[in-house]
């Protein structure tokens, strides 16, 4: 599981103020059920406790909330009608895809409607000639690539959760994956997003051409974590499948050398299809899990992939090998066939479950730093392991500086949980101090609200809140997420003064 980092006071304050209002929760629920019941078939509305339990959290399981009700519309007309009704009743709306998000972006609102888009799971149109696919938001990421595979095409962004996560969720999070250094993020692979405003008006961002008139609203809608509009349909670009991919596995006896090798590859003018790093503890954990034959003596392992035509790959692999050996790789191995390439990747792709096997719980971080600071952050994390007396395995999208340190702990021990939260916050703050960002691809959700206080000034946060108001004047779409309020940051600042020693340790903090 993922651990909580701290309490989202905004969400709770809001709940409290509504609770103190004229209507209590039961009345509010009855009103909502009556209103939406007139718009949806009975089976598309869940409100009994036992029915709503599965919706209490997303992939960030430590944060849970019970929604007033869960609506499962089946048509766009129903989505529009539900939104209109919610807008009229001032009901918060939390859109939800597969619920695989790692930052609590789909955690329900206690006095709101969870809008599950699970039934929007059809591929609407594949245009082989134009290399595009138009799919409903609930289509799984991998299902797109599977559906167009026979055409020699695929959808490039490949988040680790691609078997389960949906394209609507990918758009909400601007998901990446291991190949985004070369092929881009979700934003770079989406042409058009169709959806609805909170008022229930149909709206299209982007278009079938490469650009749309006016402001490029797709840039803010992609990655907006359900705060600006509800997405129902997405047109994605498809990429011709490369004829060949080969992967180099390189060992280093020193973290700094491995970090330098990453920078040297890029400096040599090479853009690898994938460039990933695992440290020694991570390698040991995954080897025990997948038996891929990783070098257990290495301080760090790099996976460096080339794809393209056979001639292109041969040329690039040679250049990569030159750089890696020049940077002091102690062992290099090039995949000979597809089976071996998949074996090289198997450990990297299983880093999370492998960590789950060696520890009761782990907390996955997701910051990004400039590539050249890889060794610095690794050494800083090693110091933090001592400071917080917890182990940490490190796996990185090294090519784009996106770190996934996995802090190992036991959530049943409140002190470990507490130290883990502080460890995590320390990593995020160090990443910002090194010129990076608190989240590279998992999103802010509720998990990283406090860290946003560190990364952005009050004016910048207020500007982002103003962007939200331009789309959603009443703040009904996924309220309390992504952008922290001034109040919350002030509270966080107070706690922050005594770094490592929270005031009032007896108080509950999630």
């Amino acid at each position: 599981m993922n651990a909580p980092q701290d309490l989202p006071p905004d969400a709770h304050l809001e709940t409290a103020s509504l609770k103190a209002g004229t209507t209590d929760r039961a009345t509010r629920q009855a009103q909502a059920v009556a209103a939406l019941g007139a718009l949806l078939p009975a089976h598309a509305l869940l409100y009994r406790r036992e029915d709503t339990v599965p919706y209490e959290c997303d992939g960030l399981t430590a944060y849970r909330e019970t929604p007033l009700l869960v609506a499962l519309p089946e048509t766009e007309a129903q989505v529009a009608a539900v939104l209109k009704a919610c807008h009229a009743m001032d009901l918060p709306v939390v859109a939800r895809g597969a619920g695989t998000g790692l930052s609590g972006g789909a955690m329900p609102h206690a006095l709101g409607v969870t809008l599950s888009l699970a039934k929007f799971n059809k591929i609407v149109k594949v245009d082989a000639k134009a290399r595009t696919a138009t799919v409903q938001c609930g289509v799984r990421n991998l299902a797109i690539s599977e559906a167009v595979s026979s055409l020699g095409l695929y959808y490039a962004p490949d988040p680790s959760s691609q078997i389960a996560c949906t394209i609507g969720g990918n758009v909400a999070e601007n998901s990446g994956g291991v190949h985004c250094l070369k092929y881009g993020l979700t934003l770079h692979n989406v042409l058009k997003v169709r959806g609805f405003t909170i008022e229930g008006e149909a709206v299209e961002f982007g278009g079938d051409a490469l650009d749309a008139p006016g402001l490029d609203l797709l840039t803010v809608v992609v990655g907006s974590e359900g705060m600006l509009a509800v997405i129902s349909e997405v047109t994605v670009k498809l990429t011709p499948k490369p004829q060949l991919a080969r992967c180099i596995m390189a060992s280093f006896d020193d973290i700094r050398k491995a970090g330098d090798a990453v920078a040297a590859i890029i400096a040599a003018g090479i853009i690898p299809a994938g460039l990933e790093m695992m440290d020694k503890p991570m390698t040991a954990a995954v080897e025990d899990f997948v038996h891929a034959g990783y070098d257990l003596t290495a301080a760090a392992i790099l996976l460096c992939e080339s794809d393209g035509t056979p001639e292109e790959v041969a040329e690039e692999i040679d250049r990569m090998l030159d750089v890696l050996t020049g940077c002091g790789a102690t062992r290099v191995e090039v995949s000979k066939d597809e089976a071996q390439r998949m074996r090289f990747w198997s450990g990297r792709k299983n880093a999370f479950p492998a960590s789950g096997r060696i520890s009761p719980d782990y907390m996955c971080m997701d910051s990004t730093i400039p590539r050249k600071r890889l060794a610095d952050i690794l050494l800083a994390i090693a110091e933090m392991e001592k400071k917080y007396d917890l182990r940490c395995c490190n796996v990185f999208h090294a090519g784009d500086g996106n770190l996934h340190p996995l802090i190992l702990f036991d959530a049943n021990d409140p002190d470990q949980l507490h130290r883990c939260e502080q460890f995590g916050a320390d990593i995020l703050e160090t990443s910002v101090a090194l010129g990076g960002t608190v989240t590279g691809e998992h999103g802010v959700g509720i998990e990283k609200l406090s860290s946003m206080c560190v990364q952005f000034s009050p004016g910048e946060r207020e500007q982002m809140l103003a962007v939200k108001r331009a789309f959603d004047g009443r703040g009904l779409l996924n309220p309390g997420k992504v952008i922290p309020t001034l109040h919350r940051c002030a509270e966080y600042g107070k706690m922050h003064v005594k770094k490592g020693l929270l005031p009032f340790p007896e108080l509950e903090r999630f």
Binding site: A130, I266, A267, G435, E460, R461, M464, V467
Partner: protein, 370 residues
């Protein structure tokens, strides 16, 4: 965050002067016309207000080739930035047009125009990683950063690409840069427009190192860029006539900067009362049958039309195939940009108000009255 301007730095007279101008204009409810080199003053609706010259705010703030990131102040000449990148074997992969040597980095981002490689390399916005903005409240705000992956908050920095200054003054911008392709080759084919479009779309579905294309007057020109081996094998496979490298380089530069024969002719026609239209359409759209001279770029996704036909003809032709038409140069009486749907127009107005509540900057430059 992470761009230099926002750091509690030493005195910065150029920045202070800008902030002061904006404060004063705001107090007077006056309009400011943000300007760099003025090379794209022709683009968009007519500028209004007193010029706000960004050229004093110039210079490359940081450039780390191994990070693939450059950060530059808005008034930095684009030529200076490109020379610094070329020195390290890198480039702006989206090939922004340079209408003269005077163009600036800020103007490039604000206009959001991309060149011949757009269909394969992405647009300006795809390469923006972060920006520092002077808002209509005279606040200096930074969004995004200098890293490739960043989902902290709304991606405001990319929204600035193509915003034509309507959301504020771009002060500094961080851009993703890429290595110059090791090899490139240009091929020439004699094909009519419909066949050229079919061929471009067929090639687009194959793993070929395509990097640009142009069709005009019965000739299709194709550029391949990438690893030497990949370019060589594609040349062998595709056939056509290989264009000599110096002539090819000249052609692509002319196309990029709109100085080649088609655009020279277009400029003359515009002087005589015609309009140069830019149609953004799905790349599979059939030939657009409007009167006038046509040039196709971006694998079919961008069509230039020089014509005296009424705006409605162009707008309808583009809309019919799922695209939109921009009055790029010439007659603008029917509006430069295609009209928006009512909910999108409302969002545009509200967003503009969110960044610039008093409408200080570039009034009406994107849409009249906004």
């Amino acid at each position: 965050m992470a761009t230099g301007i926002n750091a509690p730095a030493a005195a910065d007279p150029a920045l202070d002067a800008l902030v002061e101008r904006v404060r004063a204009a705001r107090a007077l409810k006056a309009a400011l016309d943000i300007r760099g080199g003025g090379t794209k003053a022709f683009y968009g609706e007519a500028p209004q207000g007193e010029p706000l010259d960004l050229r004093p705010l110039a210079g490359i703030s940081s450039y780390e080739p191994s990070e693939l990131v450059v950060t530059a102040r808005a008034g930095t000449p684009l030529a200076e930035l490109e020379a610094a990148l070329a020195d390290k074997g890198q480039c702006l992969a989206f090939e922004p047009p340079r209408f003269s040597q005077a163009g600036t980095v800020g103007g490039m981002v604000a206009a959001g125009l991309s060149g011949p490689s757009r269909a394969t390399a992405g647009a300006v916005r795809d390469h923006v990683l972060g920006a520092t903005l002077l808002s209509g409240r005279a606040e200096v705000l930074s969004f995004g950063g200098q890293v490739m992956k960043n989902v902290a908050g709304y991606d405001v920095s990319r929204l600035l690409a193509g915003s034509l200054g309507t959301l504020g003054v771009i002060l500094e911008v961080s851009l993703k840069v890429l290595p110059v392709a090791p090899a490139t080759a240009t091929l020439r084919f004699e094909l009519d427009e419909a066949k050229a479009l079919d061929q471009l779309n067929a090639w687009g579905g194959q793993p070929l190192p395509l990097s640009a294309s142009a069709w005009w007057s019965g000739i299709l020109v194709l550029r391949l860029s990438g690893a030497a081996a990949a370019v060589q094998s594609a040349v062998a496979r595709l056939g056509g006539e290989v264009v000599e490298p110096p002539m090819a380089a000249g052609f692509w530069t002319g196309l990029r900067d709109q100085t080649d024969e088609f655009f020279v002719g277009a400029a003359k026609a515009v002087e005589a009362g015609a309009t140069l239209w830019r149609l953004a359409v799905p790349q599979t759209a059939p030939p657009i049958k409007t009167p006038g001279e046509h040039l196709v770029e971006w694998g079919g996704a961008q069509r230039w039309v020089v014509t005296t036909a009424p705006a409605a003809t162009l707008r309808e032709a583009a809309a019919r195939v799922g695209g939109h038409a921009t009055a790029f140069r010439g007659g603008k009486s029917a509006g430069v940009f295609a009209p928006l749907s009512p909910p999108l127009m409302r969002i545009h107005r509200d967003l503009r108000a969110a960044f610039d509540p008093d409408g200080v900057f570039n009034r009406g430059r994107l849409y009249p009255g906004m």
